[in-house]
Each structure stands twice: as C-alpha cells, then as structure tokens.
C-alpha cells in the first residue's frame, strides 16, 4: 500500500469531477430537489377530497348531515346534483373523487332509525380511496354518536358516552410531521444510491475508455486503485447526505436527537457498502447501458423492500428476507434511531453489528471479483 | 482529363464558438484535388485537417468561403455528395456489435446497393481487404489494422468516385500500414478513384501525388512531393557530433547555415554552398575538440521540407507580429 499512489488516483478523480461542472452541479442538486419534493409535494394524508352531493331530501336534517361532513375537513363539497347517476358520472369524468347520495325523506327515516346515506368513492386511486373510506366511517360514527348522546340525554340518563378514553401519545414525532419521518430514510437512500451509482459509472466508464489498462501498467496495486477511485465518490456522497440533513434541520426544522458523531461514522461505514456493491456491478457489466439497468433493478428492490417508502411490517416473510440482503434495510433503522429517536449504540448494537458484518462481507467479495475482473 | 477538379475549396473558413470566444479552425484554405489523384493533407495535430475534411463533406457547416466535391456544394448538395463519396472517420466508428458481414450489408443497404450487386461486390471487397476469413467476427473484436480495412471496404461498397480518409493508419502497425497503402494504390490505378487522405505521417505523404501542408488552419504549401522537397533552401548535410549541445549552438550561428533541424543526436544542417560550408563546420567544431561522425549530404525528405516550411511560417508570423 502506498498512500502516494492512492493519492495520485484520488487526485485524478477529483480533477475529472471538477472539470465536468454540469455533472457535478447535477449531482449536488439532485438530492436537494428530491428532498424539496418529499417535503412539499408528497402528503399521504389525504383530506379536502373534492366531493359532489346529490341530496334528494332537501330537509333540515340532511343539510345538517352534509354540514357535518363538510366540517370534518376530509371532504370539500364542490357541487350539487340531483341524482346518483350524475354523481357517478362526475366521478367517471374525474371531476370529483367522492360523492354523497342522500335518498328522499331523510328526516323521517332518521326518526324511525333507518336512515341511509351512501358514499361513492373513486377506487382507481387507492390511496385517496382508503383515506376517504376511513373518513366516511369516522364521520358517520361521530354523527351517530352525537345523535345517540342526544337520545340518551332525552332518556334522562346521566351517563358518559365515553367511559373508556384512549389517550394516545406519539413518541419522537408528536405531530406526525411527514418530513421528520422522511429525512432519515432519505439520508440512508442517498448514501446507498449515490455511492453505488458513482462507483459503477466511474469504473465502467474507465473500462470502456480503456484507461483502466493505462493505470494497470503503472506500479499501482488493484486495492490502491480501488481506494483511489472510491475516495472522491465517498466524499461527494457524504456531502450530499450532509446537505440533505442540513436542509432538513434548517429548512424543515427536523430535530436531530442523537449523537451526530455516531451517525456520521456509521454513515461512512454504510457508504462503503454502496461502493462495494458498485464494484460488484461494474465487474459484471460490460457497458454503461448494462450497468445502468442493473443498478436500476438493484435500487428498485432495495428501496421497495428496505422500508424507506413502504412499511416493512406488512411484507411477507420471504420478501422480508430478501430485503435483509440489502445493507439499506439495516441502515434505515439506525438512521431513524439516531436522528429521530435519539438512541445510542446501547439500543442499536444489533443493527450496527449486522451492518458492519454486511459491509465487511460485501467489500471482501467485491474486492475479489474486482481483482478477477482485471486479470 | 486530369484537369477535371474533384474537390475544390476557395477561402474556406470555419470558426467554432467556445466559452472563451471564437476559435478559427480553418482560416482561408484554398485547394484543388484533380480527378484520379491521391491528395495528402499533412500537418501537425490540431492544424485543422479533420475539420477541413468534415467541412468539405458537409458534416460541419462552414463559416465562409466555398467548398465542393464533384461540383456539388458541400452545404447545399449534401446528399448528392454522400451518395458519391466514401469516408473513413478518424476513430474507427463502425458498429462494434455487428459482424464484418453485417457491417458490409448495413452500409450496402443504406446506400441502396441492389441485392445482385451486393452478392458480387461484398465478397470482392472482403477479399480485396483480406477479410474473407473473418466474415462472422464482430467488428469490435477485430485488430486495429483489420478494423481499418473493414472501414475501407465499407466505405467502398457503393463504388464511390472519391474516398476521403482521416488519418486512416492511426494506431496501426507498420506492416498493416503498408498493406493499407497498397490497397489505396490499387484503388487508384485500377479504378481511377480520387483519394483524399489526412495524415501526420511523412512517409505516407510521399506516397501521394499531391500534398497540401496545413499549419494553424492555413494551407502553407501545396504541390507535388518533389516540388515541396525542392522548396528547401540550399543543400542538406547530416552528421552526428561527438558533443551534441555545444555543436548545435556553434553551427546554428555560422555563416551560410540557413536552417538546422535536430533528429535525436543527429544534426541536419541546410547550407548555401555545400563543399565550403562542410569544411568550415568541420574546422570550427574541431577547434572545440568535437568530431563529426558520418558527415554526408542527403536528399531532403518530406520531413525536412515540412519542418523547414513550418519554421519559415513561424518566423514570418513573428516578424508580422513585431511589425505591428
């Protein structure tokens, strides 16, 4: 090992990096754009669903019901029609997502205790539909509860309607702010994708251009070459991660609860796993196109199964096992643990051990395959 | 017949816009290539040879002047030119994932060569290029020399009247280079084809029957190789001094020495009067205890002529700039 030779390769990497300003700017800007999108654009809590109403009763009770629906904030009443067919048509056209149909004589039925209200929800957007479905339920229940309370009061009974009260306390993120939840996952994802993509493209590009051959005739050892290539990518990756974290803290007010030092060094260890995977991918792909395709597949699986975008608890066991194969899966709980929960190594040692073992194994395999690829 | 001009340019100018302003790559080039000629455009790297070729072919838009092939204007009659001209770009640039045969067929089809003609012509060309045994090999897996031969065969498949080659022997071993030039020679003698070659190699320039010397975007000389060689002032002495650096400095300042070029540890000295200066040089050097091995007169080659012409151009430019 010669630090001088590693430095020579590293320097070359940096010069190339800074020469191509356009690419560098893109690399640094991309994560920030992504963060802004996640911060401002994406909200899975659907409310203010555009809703159309067909009220065939037109009495005080039905209007009170519609008011209760509108007051919930879940549904925005945007128009009135006169039949359930027209409601369905408006949903067909995509003008509204939900519709409420109240049949004639609502007040009379209410007195008899068999009033019917139907909600129609556009099921082609499942996420909105699920929210709307749940909301309709909640509203109906509340409304029914209110009426019942009145009834009970009329019966003269002095009873609490809610003898059992569930007080819910949400730890770490009491307001359920989405971005608090997103930031640790994004840091983990950026560390993984960037280190993987940068390493792979750098190596495949060099091979396509034949510059690896050029370097191999110098006295440099494969390990030194690899380290030299890895260092600039590692730094870019860490800069990106820190810019996301910084923006999250400064712009979105995400609190950093745990030890920054611990998080930083675990991030460094973690990004080596992406670099290792990058070496593996580059040794099995011949062209940039192939490398791109493989990376896309790997990232797709890692992101879907890793617990960043979708909950891991509901996955079938087989898929959970596949997810366990990706280092991202092990780092996400660490990132959430340190940033959001503020816990330390004493709570996280299991995940940290798993991560370290993984990184070591991946690096070992990738170094071996990288060496073989050169021979 | 030989008066028929195949390639003509007049005051051709090409400028590129870059971040640091406008760069003039070709600065008023006027040249003519006659039918059946092998024209060599020579010059150092960056002189503008490739740009000139691309502008003549209509691959780049020209900034000023005129250029045409076979009477077709480079800019307006681009497709007439492309039907009648073969071209090999500097990089080997045939699809590497097609086999030799598939490459041939691809270029034949794209030029609209009929099936019957293809059946006759492709085997002929493959044999001509010595590739008949490699028809199923992928283009990317050929050796450097074979790639160039395949490129030549592909560029001839539509029987062009003119072939333009941009440094066709770059990165090719000497044996393959010789073979390649023999192929070009056959094309000229057998088919009367006009050949336009860009090359930095002087030995290749000598195989052309007309040479244009390009330097910094300008054509500083164009004539037959013999005439160009004759442009060198005076006669040429070659010798190897026992001590190189002092001998070089001494001789450079002597009277009657018009120019000096160094070749390794050898000196090439142009003198006005051969016998007199030879004796003077030997005497002067002997005074300093320097001996001269193998001093003799040699025929100026393209290489000497080329360097001499560039030196002249440089000193001319220097005097121009100081005059301002």
């Amino acid at each position: 090992m010669s630090l001088l030779r590693i430095w020579a390769v590293t320097q070359k990497g940096f010069i190339q990096l800074f020469r191509d300003r356009r690419t560098l700017a893109m690399m640094l800007a991309l994560p920030i754009i992504q963060l802004l999108l996640f911060g401002y654009a994406i909200d899975m809590n659907v409310d203010h669903v555009p809703t159309i109403v067909a009220d065939q009763s037109q009495d005080a009770e039905s209007r009170a019901y519609i008011e209760a629906v509108a007051a919930s904030g879940f549904f925005d009443i945007v128009g009135y029609v006169s039949s359930s067919e027209e409601v369905a048509q408006a949903i067909d056209r995509g003008d509204v997502i939900a519709g409420i149909f109240i049949p004639p004589d609502f007040a009379a039925h209410l007195k008899r205790g068999d009033a019917q209200v139907s909600f129609l929800v556009d099921g082609s957007d499942v996420i909105t539909a699920q929210s709307a479905y749940a909301a309709a339920d909640v509203i109906a229940q509340n409304y029914a509860g209110k009426l019942q309370l009145e009834k009970i009061k009329r019966m003269g009974a002095a009873l609490q309607t809610q003898p059992i009260d569930a007080r819910v306390r949400i730890l770490y993120n009491p307001n359920m702010t989405n971005i608090w939840f997103t930031i640790p996952g994004m840091c983990a994802m950026i560390l993984q994708t960037q280190s993987l993509v940068l390493t792979t493209t750098a190596l495949v590009l060099e091979r396509e251009a034949g510059t690896i051959e050029q370097l191999l005739v110098t006295p440099i050892r494969p390990v030194e070459l690899m380290l030299g290539k890895i260092i600039p990518n590692l730094i870019i990756t860490l800069v990106n991660m820190l810019s996301i974290l910084g923006m999250g803290i400064l712009v979105f007010g995400v609190p950093f609860q745990g030890s920054f030092q611990l998080f930083f060094w675990l991030s460094v260890i973690f990004s080596f796993s992406g670099l290792g995977l990058g070496l593996l991918v580059s040794s099995i792909s011949e062209t940039q196109k192939q490398a791109q395709q493989i990376i896309m597949a790997v990232m797709l699986v890692a992101i879907v199964l890793g617990g960043f975008m979708f909950p891991r608890t509901t996955m079938p066991d087989a898929l959970k096992l596949i997810g366990d194969l990706f280092p991202l899966t092990h780092f996400i709980p660490i990132a959430r643990g340190i940033i959001t929960k503020g816990v330390g190594l004493d709570m996280l040692w299991e995940q940290v051990t798993a991560l370290v073992v993984y990184v070591a194994v991946i690096l070992l395999i990738s170094v071996r395959s990288f060496k073989q690829g050169l021979e | 017949m030989t008066d028929e001009k195949t390639i003509v340019t007049k005051n051709l100018v090409k400028q590129f816009k870059t971040r640091n302003g406008v760069v003039t790559a070709i600065n008023g080039v006027t040249l003519q290539v006659h039918r059946g000629e092998t024209y060599g455009l020579i010059g150092p790297d960056g002189a503008g040879k490739t740009t000139t070729t691309r502008v003549i072919l209509g691959l780049l838009t020209r900034t000023g002047g005129e250029s045409s092939i076979l009477g077709y204007d480079s800019m307006h009659d681009t497709y007439q030119i492309r039907e009648r001209v073969g071209y090999i770009a500097q990089q080997f640039a045939l699809p590497g994932d097609l086999t030799v045969m598939e490459n041939m067929q691809f270029f034949a089809n794209i030029h609209g060569v009929s099936r019957e003609d293809q059946k006759k012509r492709i085997p002929e060309l493959l044999e001509f290029a010595g590739l008949e045994k490699f028809t199923t090999r992928l283009g990317g897996k050929l050796s450097g020399g074979m790639k160039k031969k395949l490129a030549l065969a592909c560029s001839l498949v539509h029987e062009p009247q003119v072939v333009m080659l941009d440094e066709p022997t770059l990165g090719v071993d000497p044996v393959s280079r010789r073979e390649f030039w023999n192929l070009l020679g056959n094309l000229r003698t057998e088919k009367g084809m006009t050949i336009f070659v860009c090359t930095p190699y002087m030995d290749e320039a000598e195989r052309c029957n007309w040479v244009g010397l390009m330097y910094k975007g300008q054509l500083i000389a164009h004539d037959s190789p013999e005439t160009i060689k004759a442009m060198v002032p005076g006669r040429l002495l070659e010798f190897t001094p026992s001590e190189f650096a002092p001998a070089r400095d001494l001789v450079a300042g002597m009277e009657g020495v018009t120019e000096m070029q160094t070749y390794g540890l050898m000196l090439h000295v142009f003198v006005d009067d051969l016998d007199r200066r030879q004796q003077e040089i030997q005497a002067t050097l002997a005074d300093q205890g320097i001996t001269c091995a193998g001093m003799r007169e040699i025929e100026p080659r393209m290489e000497e002529a080329f360097i001499s012409l560039i030196h002249k151009q440089e000193s001319y430019e220097r005097s121009e700039s100081t005059a301002e």
Binding site: Y40, V49, S118, L120, G145 | -
Partner: protein
Amino acid sequence: MQGESAMQSQAKRIYALMWKELIQILRDWRTLLMILGLPILEMFLFAYAVNMTIDHIPTVVADLSMGERSQTFLDAMQTSEFFDLELYTSSEQQVIQAIESGKAVAGIVIPPDFEAQIDRGSAQVLIIFDGSDAYTVQSGYRAASAIAQTQSMVVVAQKLQRAGAAEFSPPVFTSTRILYNPNMDGMIFMLPGVIGILLQMLTMNLTAMSVVREQELGILEQILVTPARPFDLIVGKMVPNILISVLDLAIILVVGIYWFKVPFQGSFLLFALLSLLFIISGLSMGVLISTIAKTQKEAQQITSVVLMLSMLLTGMMYPRSTMPPAVSAVGGLIPVTYYLRIIRGIMTKGIGLTFMWQDVLVLVIYGLIVIVAAAKLFKKRLD
C-alpha cells in the same frame, strides 16, 4: 418514375437502419433481458411488498390493573388484528424502553385502578406509538381510537340495559361504495402506474442512450456521411424500439390481467392507440435529450431527473390532490400525468373518449410537438 425510385431508396435506407438496430438490440441480450424482466420484477414487488394498511403491529403491554375488564379491553385489541400483543412488562418505563430499542412499535399502559375508573365513568388507557415509523402510527392511531370507542359503547349499552332501557341501534346507516375497485385492491391501482412509469423510463432511455452512445463512439459520424436523411435515421432508430416497448407493455398487461387478475374495463383499441402515441413521444423525447447531452452520463442524469419527477408528481403513487398548486403545476408539465389519467380511465373505470377528451387532447398535442421537434433538431451535421 424518379419519385418512386427516391421512395424506394428511402425505404431501403430505413430498412437497413432498422435491421442494424434490431441486431444490436438482440445481440446485447443482457440488456434485453433486463428490459423485459424489470417490469415483472417491479410488479411482483409492488403487489406483494407494498401494503399501506398496517395491521399486526408489534405491541408491548403493561397491564397494571390485571382485572377482568382490562383483560376484555386487551382481548379486543388483540382480536382487532391491528395489534399483536407480544410483550408483557410491568411499568410504563419498560414499555417506552421496548419501543426505544425497536422491539415493539406500539405500547399499551392500563392504569392500576382501571376497574374503579370505569365504574366512575372516566377510565384512561395510555397508548404509546413509535413516531419514527409514520405508517404504523397513522394506521394504529385510528384503530386504537376505534377500539376504545367500541368498548365504550359496550360498557354504555350494558349500563343502559341494567337500567332497563330498550335496546337501541345507531340511527344512520352509512354505506360506502368504492367504484371501479370495490376491494381497494392495490394492484388495480398500481398496474396503470407501473405501465406509465416504465414506458416513460424505457422509451426515453432507449433512444437517448443509444444515440448518445453512437455519438460518443463516432458511429454517428460514419452513418451521417451516408445518404441517410435525418428522417430515415429517426425512423430506423424508433421502429425497433417501438417493438421492444410494445413487447414490454404486453408483458405487463398479460401478467397483470392473468396473474394478478386486474380487470380491463374499457376499450382495448383506444388503449393501444394512445399507448402507441405515448411510446412514440417518449422515444422522441429521448432523441431530444440526445441533442442536449454530450455523454451517456449526462443523458443518464437528465433521464433520471425526469424519472424522479414522474414518479413523485404524476399521481403514480402519491396523490396529486394534496400537492401545493405550484408543485402540482410542475406535475402537469409531465405527459405521464395525462397518460396515467387516461389509462386509469380506460383500464379501471372503463370510460371512453367522451369523458376524457381533454386529457387525450393534451397528450396528442404534446406528442406532436415532441415528434416534430425531434425530427427537426436531429442532426444531419456534427455541429
């Protein structure tokens, strides 16, 4: 006569270019395999891995009352299937510790005097959630409140009955009907999204990468000096890639319809025509990108930005209705937004042109602009 032979030679040139492209595609079988395999992988992942309604939340319990009623309450929690009561501890601190170490995501603390509190009519159960796991909290929160309410009702009803009151039932029956997708099957929702995103990504990438690659290697220069016109080059490049894209689309559709049993409600012809238009405009977009990008790396970066915006802003997964107007407008600039609405309309809702002519119009106009721009800007020279 002259015109016909010009047409013939053009046809020949296009044929030559198409044939070359096709050989190249087939020869690079690794890439081909990935192109055809990726959609299947994506569909299986989304179908089996993505489930946003969370149940069986690992839960830790501290039942300090150990009474009959607390047991009833916990049973209700367990039978709801939302919560899996896995760990039992004896204090609130231990519950929090279990959540901190990640052993449980939710915790229930029942106070010591729970029975007495119920009799007094003001019992309080503490439910604690791990807020770093947003999905679980959102589902669990709702479930916990609902269970508490139901339990309250049971208690009230019991009391009322004991007081001799007549049985009563809720006065309003709400029926919610989910149109088009009554079981809220995620796959019915995801399939059009997968189609839209994959087609967008695939088409743009195919042409952008292959044109830029030929440019980088100098193959383009060699082909530009042939008599092939820009039109020939574009058609020759597009037709084989259209075939690949259509094949990809067919694979997704077949797997979606026959394996995942996603119903196809509307007109297949309309779907095919508009998809073809979308494919061609995607490929043209790739050609346009190739006129901007100088290297494959640059092309890749541009396509990945477009891809990211498409995934997040077009309504593929994330609802567009909750986006701020400015962000939503950015999404409106991406054609996938319209294509997605159209194919959801056709596949899921089964509606025709009369209901979505505006979206179709936008898609057609966009397609025409991109195709014409690609044909105009595609180089016949190197500068």
